[in-house]
Symmetry: C2
Subunit: 96 residues, 2 copies
DNA sequence: ATAAATCAGTTTATTTTATAAACCAAATTC
DNA sequence: GAATTTGGTTTATAAAATAAACTGATTTAT
């Protein structure tokens, strides 16, 4: 009845990050930070976890003289996200 | 943009419990346990938290010779639940 | 030029949470 | 009447989230 919720996505910040990334195709650290309102430390940790899970890829480049951490949702990540959303419906108790 | 998710509800088991309770008006421990598939220990702990938050009321009665822990969602709990669901929409990235 | 502040993060530490394991008292079954 | 089951609670442990402190490079102000 209640499908299990992927613990990697059932985290406020990681979910916000994935939600942003699936709709935007690519986003850098600074953008994710402003969008989510997260602290840099928290964001850094959660990006690592998403990366290790293979839900995103992280590429570090230089934009002029400044470092820039670019994030992209992988196919695996997109699939996991949509499955999470789907499973979540069990919990909304709209259609019993 | 991303509304904060009530941490009391952003828990797989507590969310499943509240989801059940808002749709069912009253449920006992055993029923909640079978519905959610949770262990008794985990359920006990999470019911305490929901109770302390004022999201549910817990009434212990005897059904014949057996103890029975009855749970009901309060108005406060129902409101928090529907607000949680609403805030969650920010994360689904369907409408941008 | 250099000291101070800022940017773009990472690492480490602390608190909170979720979960499991162990336990308990009463009732039931063998 | 001994063992098992029922309906839980309490305690212990593992995992998570978050904050705080730090780094290394870059501007900005003096």
């Amino acid at each position: 009845m209640f499908r299990r919720l992927d613990p990697l996505l059932h985290s406020e910040l990681r979910l916000a990050v994935m939600s942003t990334l699936v709709s935007v195709d690519e986003a850098d650290f600074v953008y994710l930070r402003t969008q989510t309102g997260a602290t840099a430390g928290n964001l850094s940790v959660q990006l690592d976890k998403l990366c290790e899970a293979g839900y995103i890829t992280v590429e570090k480049v230089f934009k002029g003289k400044k470092p820039c951490t670019n994030c992209i949702a992988t196919e695996k990540g997109r699939k996991a996200f949509s499955e999470y959303i789907d499973a979540l419906k069990d919990y909304l108790s709209v259609g019993k």
